[in-house]
């Protein structure tokens, strides 16, 4: 089980809701992933528009918890206002906080992120910060009141998987008691299993499922990979080494020469 702020869930997968071929496929992917938390966003509604309402009702029908995001926000002011508007709609104090620095890398503006986290926490929000794997920034986010950290493992949507496992390992070691969710950069179930083997508590992903040839089946594959990775971590994986070690005992081996 995984506890995020005051909520306990079984699934260690947080799933994004964007870029699916259809709402029906999104719903099926959510079901087969067994996720209990999905991310959503807010955008401008057209006059008389019903698009937002249809999506809102669909998500509500899925019976999962909602984690609104501040995707696309490039300033503290934008992110804070978007978070407040999201709380007004979704009636949750949870916010996936993104303050983006660059359009091309979608790298977080970690200075703005810390500032926004401090403002939102003081306002009663429970912040899930999308951050880099920088340890000092993470400490500042915890000081700002965050009780969950979400480091990237590669740029958003890149599907590269963990490009710096050493940094992720350090991150885990530095914050043994903080729920850690890898957010962004996961491309395949093996990537998700790899970060879970490092001791991460959960994974948040979107494109890897939504853009798969068969999103619903990929969602299930990720669920299985997460379980496998978590189980492997709990079982204590052996460490790699440079030299060969015979797995069959050599003592008692017959000598024929």
């Amino acid at each position: 089980m995984l506890t995020l702020y005051d909520v306990t869930v079984q699934s260690r997968l947080l799933l994004g809701t964007a870029r699916y071929p259809s709402p029906a496929i999104l719903a099926e992917a959510v079901r087969r992933s067994k996720t209990e938390i999905v991310t959503v966003s807010l955008r401008r509604e057209t006059a008389g528009g019903k698009a937002g309402g249809a999506f809102f009702e669909m998500i509500r029908a899925l019976g999962v918890r909602v984690l609104p995001n501040t995707a696309g926000c490039h300033s503290v002011r934008e992110a804070v206002l978007t978070a407040k508007m999201a709380r007004d709609v979704f009636r949750t104090d949870w916010i996936k906080l993104e303050v983006i620095a660059h359009h091309d890398t979608l790298q977080p503006d970690v200075f703005g992120l810390v500032e926004a986290a401090r403002i939102l926490t003081a306002d009663g929000f429970q912040v899930f910060p999308y951050t880099t794997d920088d340890l000092v920034v993470a400490e500042k986010l915890l000081e700002a009141g965050c009780c969950v950290l979400m480091p990237w493992c590669a740029p958003i949507g890149s599907a590269m998987g963990p490009v710096n496992p050493m940094a992720l390992r350090s991150f885990r070691a530095q914050f043994p008691d903080v729920p850690l969710i890898v957010d962004a950069g996961i491309g395949r179930p093996s990537h998700a299993a790899a970060v879970m083997e490092l001791g991460y508590d959960a994974v948040l992903l979107n494109t890897a499922v939504a853009n798969a040839g068969d999103p619903a089946t990929m969602a299930e594959a990720f669920a299985l990979a997460l379980d496998a990775g978590r189980l492997a971590y709990a079982a204590g994986p052996i460490e790699p080494r440079d030299m060969a070690v015979p797995s069959t005992p050599v003592i008692g081996k017959a000598v024929f020469a």
Partner: protein
């Protein structure tokens, strides 16, 4: 009055935020509103008086990662 609604200039005959939403046929519990960069809760819209060239943002849920 003239307002900047979701980034576009529009003339709307309304003096409160609730009236503006009504005239433009926005409806639903899923809407979020802000005026001049400040959140206006749904329960405060009827009492929120608008001024000339106020910047009104009207957002609704959509897919997100």
């Amino acid at each position: 009055m003239t307002f900047i609604i979701n980034g576009e200039e529009q003339d709307v005959s309304a003096t409160t935020l609730a009236a503006l939403l009504d005239v433009l046929e926005y409806e639903g519990e899923w809407l979020a509103t802000a005026v001049n960069g400040e959140l206006v809760h749904r329960e405060d819209r009827a009492a929120f008086t608008l001024s000339e060239r106020d910047r009104v943002e009207i957002l609704s849920p959509m897919q997100g990662g």
